[in-house]
């Protein structure tokens, strides 16, 4: 018997898309292993029987529900350690996202388990799970096999797609866990604060995204002008959002939004993996960067090595002229 326990994150009564992907993936793998996929949720009263039971649609047969603070990793480690100790799950699975990384790593420490993060593919070999992850800036792929009673697998953002499995409704089992003393020493003051204007970039067909290479907040005017000429919207990297150059709602990547427009034009973006995972499904990727060695050129369809301040204004004029004519 090899059951898989999948952590499912929720916020304001809705489950996280990456978590649902992990449940679907867990159900697929458990099917091949001859076991079951179970989900674990931690939170308060908004985790109703109905909401938890709905995870059955993605293939979870049972949902373990623990009471605890939301948005913090260590209370979830406590709940999962208890569930796994009582039920003997062979694997713990997480979708991509910040909390999954923290919970998975903490759980590995607690249970003396192996852990692999940034996993993009999981397969069954000889009755065991093998997790593949890209390494060395995605230039190689490494496969992890697990020793011991438990293996922890943490997916990369968007690696697992949410799919309907004909599971029906999952049964819900409450878990009574006393939190570890150190798990209660962090407390959420404010969760999910939105900073800056609300902009919808997920529906745009064309995005002009700006990074540190724009030099300063005012550099975004060049990106805005080009986006307007192309009939698109403006997006940003985490670095410039954290620097306060552009609003959080435009952020692409690991902790931001995931987009797949027809055209993604990256201006002054190096292409770190945390950014890549949020935009690599775009149909056409154009990158402008002065550093010829920037990783973004490795996954762009058209790369321009040069100075943004020279290229963007002329490109904007040329696009306008073309559209006008």
């Amino acid at each position: 018997m090899a059951d898989i326990l999948v952590y499912v994150l929720h916020y304001e009564g809705a489950f996280n898309k990456n978590s649902l992907g992990a449940v679907s993936e867990g159900a697929r793998l458990a099917g091949e292993l001859g076991g079951e996929a179970h989900a674990v949720v931690v939170g308060g009263d908004d985790l109703t029987d109905e909401l938890c039971g709905s995870l059955g649609a993605h293939g979870a047969t049972k949902v373990f529900r623990g009471q605890g603070p939301e948005g913090l990793a260590q209370p979830v480690v406590d709940v999962m350690a208890k569930v796994i100790s009582d039920n003997g799950h062979a694997y713990a699975l997480f979708g991509g996202g910040l909390l999954g990384f923290e919970i998975g790593a903490g759980l590995a420490a607690r249970m003396n388990a192996g852990v692999t993060m940034e996993v993009t593919e999981v397969k069954v070999d000889d009755g065991k799970l093998v997790a593949s992850r890209p390494i060395l800036q995605d230039s190689k792929v490494s496969e992890s096999r697990y020793k011991g009673d438990l293996g922890v697998i943490i997916g990369r953002l968007n690696a697992f797609e949410a799919a309907e499995r004909n599971g029906g409704t999952a049964t819900v089992e409450d878990v009574d866990v006393e939190l570890s003393p150190w798990s209660t020493k962090a407390s959420m003051v404010q969760r999910g604060e939105q900073r800056g204007a609300d902009v919808n970039i997920e529906d745009a067909d064309i995005l002009v995204a700006g990074g540190r290479g724009l030099g300063k907040a005012e550099g975004f005017q060049l990106a805005e002008a080009l986006a307007e000429a192309l009939g698109g919207a403006v997006a940003a990297t985490r670095a410039v959002v954290d620097a306060g150059w552009y609003p959080y709602s435009t952020q692409i990547g690991q902790t931001g939004k995931t987009v797949a427009p027809k055209l993604y034009l990256a201006a002054g973006i190096s292409g770190a993996i945390q950014h890549k995972v949020g935009m690599q499904s775009s149909e056409n990727i154009v990158a402008i960067n002065k550093d010829a060695n920037a990783p973004i050129f490795e996954f762009s369809d058209l790369g321009i090595v040069g100075d943004l301040n020279k290229i963007l204004p002329k490109l904007t004029e040329a696009v306008k002229a073309k559209k006008g004519g």
């Binding site: 910040l98 590995a108 060395l136 798990s183 985490r238 490795e298 762009s300 002329k314």
Partner: protein, 263 residues
């Protein structure tokens, strides 16, 4: 208050990284440097020390790695750490994330820090998670990817980006905090600090000195076996234009966009 900063020696960014086919481990020969992400953790420690909201007696840089890792410690000291601890032992080679976190936690236990700081990731292993492993072993609260950190009444007030926006979290000390690179702009070391770095106290420990159980570290003690390194599915390499004549470049880009009906 004592602050320990975890640092790591990584291959220089300009060196092409590769897997050594004979060991299946990252080839760590060649030019090395202090992990650039760690400089933000040292800077965060210095800002707490200099900020006046807490009395900081000592900032201690801690690393695990081969003999050459001493250079990362010297760099850390030149950036402001008062002394450093080097855990080095053949038995530790090949440790995975969980085993490395265990070994570092045992080393930190000897120091009884009030705050452990580290960078959000290492430039080479790309793991993002060592802080959470260390914290669970030390039984301390923990937070990663912190981009703002203030000490208030003996507690930390931390901000970070999470799945649904910005979170503000209050953390009691002692704690393990991994900082994001947006938290600060690290300072450059002065020439005097660089010259003086080798004179600051350095403790060198073996696994036994730190009370590390041999069967929990190294390749044998690691619970993950990595192997079958292979190339990812290759994407057709894109077209590259070197901008020499910008008018010409722009013409090419517009033509490319038109061809794909994007204009």
């Amino acid at each position: 208050m004592k602050i320990c900063v975890l640092v790591k020696e990584v291959p220089d960014a300009a060196v092409e990284k590769r897997i050594d086919p004979s060991t299946g481990r990252l080839d760590r020969s060649g030019e090395k440097n202090l992990n650039p992400f760690d400089t933000h953790a040292i800077e965060a420690a210095m800002q707490v020390k200099e900020g006046g909201d807490a009395e900081v007696e000592e900032v201690v840089a801690v690393t695990m790695g081969p003999e050459s890792a001493v250079r990362a410690l010297h760099k850390a000291v030149s950036l402001g750490a008062d002394r450093s601890v080097h855990l080095t032992d053949e038995a530790l080679a090949g440790s995975d994330v969980a085993a490395t976190g265990y070994a570092l936690a045992k080393t930190l236990e000897r120091e009884s820090p009030d705050l452990v700081l580290l960078g959000q990731q290492s430039d080479d292993g790309e793991c993002y998670t060592i802080g959470a492993v260390v914290a669970d072993h030390l039984r301390m609260p923990s937070l990663t990817q912190v981009i703002k950190m203030d000490v208030q009444d003996g507690k930390l007030r931390c901000e970070r980006q999470a799945e649904y926006g910005y979170d503000t979290v209050e953390v009691e000390l002692p704690a393990v905090i991994s900082v994001g690179d947006a938290i600060n702009e690290p300072r450059y070391p002065s020439l005097k600090a660089i010259m003086g770095a080798k004179k600051k106290p350095l403790d060198t420990l073996g696994a036994g000195d730190a009370g590390i159980e041999g069967n929990r570290v190294g390749e044998e003690g690691s619970m993950v076996e990595c192997g079958n390194f292979h190339d990812p599915p290759q994407k057709e390499p894109g077209q590259i234009i070197e901008d020499e004549d910008t008018d010409e470049t722009v013409e090419k880009v517009v033509a490319w966009l038109e061809e794909r009906k994007l204009i």
